[in-house]
């Protein structure tokens, strides 16, 4: 068996990366992915409790080879302070969705009902459209988007997933 040559099954995995809060660090990381031919499903970056560090959550689809290479190649970058693969079962995964849907008198109430079921919030409202925010696991957001496809989506904006391991552990 040769992982370095064989194509194994592809799966989605969650990377949590602590990086220096420097100029150009996002380019450096995204450049590494494109250079080595790894696809990013989503990437989120934001400040942390330490102003010198940012935290990225990167969702990637790939096989075992890509999974191990990504972690090692990221770890080589000077500005990457820590990189970890988060096990799905022990991870809180959340994403934020803003979605604008065209509505009329009749469909408005149907959508409002769905928003309640999905525990979302209507954040903007007029005669022609509704803007809704929902957060949760990406799969939940997908389900909501799927539902709204019947009504006419005007635009979608997703934050990309945020992830944190459960328990007192920190990255």
């Amino acid at each position: 068996m040769n992982n370095a040559t064989d194509n194994n099954d592809r799966e989605q995995f969650i990377l949590s990366v602590l990086v220096s809060n420097h100029f150009g660090v996002l380019t450096r990381i995204s450049g590494l992915f494109s250079r080595r031919g790894y696809n990013i499903d989503s990437l989120n970056v934001g400040e942390t409790e330490n102003p010198a560090l940012s935290r990225m959550t990167i969702i990637v689809t790939g096989d075992d080879y890509i999974k191990s290479q990504i972690v090692k190649q990221l770890a080589k970058l000077q500005e990457v302070k820590k990189v970890e693969l988060l096990p799905k079962a022990e991870t809180v995964l959340r994403e934020h969705l803003l979605i604008k849907i065209s509505v009329d008198r009749q469909t408005r109430s149907e959508i409002t009902e769905a928003v309640n079921v999905f525990r979302g919030k209507i954040v903007d409202f007029n005669t022609e459209s509704l803007t809704i925010e929902i957060n949760g696991e990406p799969s939940k957001l997908n389900a909501f988007i799927e539902f709204t496809k019947n009504y006419g989506i005007i635009e979608i904006c997703r934050s990309g997933a945020l992830a944190m391991k459960r328990g007192a552990y920190s990255l």
Binding site: N2, F23, G24, T27, K72, Q78
Partner: protein, 553 residues
């Protein structure tokens, strides 16, 4: 002490132990050059003919000396001309600090005159890079650049310094250069595991590469090979790590390797891979690479484990320290049956090798070899002449072979020879090149002349791009598209025009005479060696193929 940014740059270079820098002045590095002028009794600057040549010279300097090479270029075209040199150093793990000037901070991002985002351009080909945004961080960034360049797996670091940072002032205090990062020995159990794999093996093969040169582990590899009675095969980057005449040394493996080395690599039951990265040129078809072997991989860069080849056991750390510990732990063994087999491979290799006669490249390389000692620096460009040198030159001293292994940069050799000659303290340097490769950066000969460097330039002149022609002959139905150069260039006259000396050799006797004259010359001397257009590099394993497709003769 309060200093300007430009002064801080020069002082930090000196502080970091840099005695020679290579480069080319220009608008946005004028202040740095002004400080270099003032400090010329403490730091030497070599101006290249072109920034690319200067970058290759810094690379050659680093390879020959083991120190960090430094190259300086101005913004825009100066910076982009460094790119090939930086990429070359990146692929071959050469410690290099490239310093570029840039437009002042307030003009950045406005497509100003000679502005290029060189940090963005070089991100994928550097270990790390910086743009300095405050003069207060200038010295610490430069120190970090040196530390990163030389630590672990070495590589190039670029520091882009806007003009106003060079003019601004900050406090500077001299510091002792940081030691390179140290690596602790792996756990005892890790080394025990390798030791037991070695003791179980009947056909061990040591595959070593550039990491041995960098880690200064030649003696340790030799000691291991002798103790476990194993043959050693080398990647092109590892050739100068081991005496070419050592009885265990089978020479280069891979696409154009020695037959015995390739065969032993294939037949082995254990590959002990030391400071290598299993490049596709070394492995060929990966699914058929060493099919009967367990692979043990020792390297300082853990990202290499399983990147190109799956390995049975990998150990991360400094190969020199690990080998010392490992060799201590293992019992002395003999493998007479394995050597019987290897000697058969060697006999086959010898029967099929080209004869060293006339103007055959093997003869030329062997004649050069006969005149070289363990300090002679050998540089090459890229192509057939490079492979002939790798195959037939018997390297004697570590850090004596300067060749573009990873990037395969035609035009690397002239700059590298200049840097290697200077980095070795002015040792006799021989550049083996081809008419195609030499043509790419031949203007750099002027730098060798200006500095009176004892460089012999041997142009293997077959009037064609020989390696490409070889592929065209084998795989493209002899359609020699754009490879038959047949230029009218008179290389000897050209050398003379540059202020060097030279001679043309069409026969063996002419070559002997030219080489004698070259060796008696203190400055650069070019020998234009006319060789056959259809001379091939053999053996050859076509790209992506395995040993079954090896072309032997």
């Amino acid at each position: 002490m309060k200093m300007t940014g430009a002064q801080i740059i020069v002082e930090t270079l000196i502080e970091q132990g840099c005695d020679t820098v290579f480069g080319y002045p220009g608008g946005f590095v004028l202040n740095i050059y002004d400080e270099l002028y003032k400090a010329q009794d403490r730091i030497n600057h070599i101006i290249g003919a072109h920034e690319q040549g200067a970058a290759h010279a810094a690379d050659g300097y680093a390879r020959a000396s083991g120190k960090v090479g430094v190259v300086i270029a101005t913004s825009g075209p100066g910076a982009t001309n460094l790119v090939t040199g930086i990429a070359n150093a990146f692929l071959d793990s050469v410690p290099l600090v490239a310093i570029t000037g840039n437009v002042p901070l307030n003009l950045l991002g406005r497509d100003s005159f000679q502005e290029v985002d060189i940090m963005g351009v070089t991100m994928p080909i550097t270990k790390h890079n910086y743009i300095v945004r405050s003069v207060n961080e200038l010295a610490s960034i430069l120190r970090e650049a040196f530390y990163i360049a030389k630590s672990g797996r070495p590589g190039p670091v670029l520091v882009d310094i806007p003009k106003d940072i060079q003019l601004a002032s900050a406090e500077y205090k001299k510091q002792t250069p940081a030691e390179k990062k140290s690596y602790s020995l792996p756990a005892e159990s890790e080394i025990d595991e390798i030791a037991s794999l070695i003791s179980e093996s009947k056909k061990p093969y040591i595959y070593s590469g550039g990491g041995i040169v960098i880690s200064d582990a030649s003696d340790e590899v030799k000691a291991l090979a002798e103790k476990i009675d194993a043959p050693i095969g080398l990647s092109i980057m590892g050739l100068s790590a081991l005496d070419g005449n050592h009885p265990n040394n089978l020479g280069m493996t891979g696409m154009h390797g020695h037959y015995a080395s390739i065969k032993a690599n294939y037949e082995a039951d254990l590959i002990i891979a030391l400071g290598v990265r299993f490049s596709d040129r070394a492995t060929g078809n990966k699914s058929k690479y060493a099919p009967n072997a367990k692979i043990v991989h020792i390297d300082i860069d853990p990202a290499e484990f399983g990147k190109n080849i799956d390995v049975f056991k990998s150990v991360n750390g400094d190969v020199k320290a690990i080998l010392r510990k490992l060799t201590e732990k293992i019992a002395k063994t003999k493998h007479p049956e394995w050597w019987d087999q290897i000697n058969e491979f060697r006999a086959f290799e010898n029967e099929n090798a080209p004869k060293a006669e006339g103007m055959h490249p093997r003869n030329i390389i062997e004649k050069i070899n006969a005149k070289a000692d363990e300090k002679t620096i050998v540089a090459t460009d890229v192509g057939q002449h490079q492979m002939w040198t790798a195959q037939f030159f018997k390297f004697k001293g570590r850090r004596t072979f300067l060749t573009s292994g990873g990037l395969g940069t035609m035009g690397y050799g002239m700059g590298a020879a200049i840097g290697g000659c200077i980095g070795s303290g002015g040792q006799r340097t021989i550049l083996v090149t081809g008419d195609g490769s030499y043509g790419m950066n031949l203007h750099e000969t002027v730098t060798a002349v200006s500095n009176g460097l004892p460089i012999i330039i041997v142009v293997m002149n077959n009037h064609t791009l020989g390696m490409v022609r070889q592929w065209q002959k084998l795989f493209f139905g002899e359609r020699y598209s754009n490879t038959t150069l047949n230029r009218k260039t008179d290389f000897v006259a050209l050398a003379k025009a540059f202020g060097a000396d030279g001679a043309r050799a069409e026969t063996e006797a002419q070559f002997d005479a030219a080489l004698e004259k070259a060796l008696a010359t203190n400055g650069p001397f070019l020998i234009d060696c006319v060789i056959d257009i259809d001379e091939r590099v053999l053996p050859m394993i076509p790209a992506g193929s395995s040993i079954d497709s090896m072309i032997v003769n």
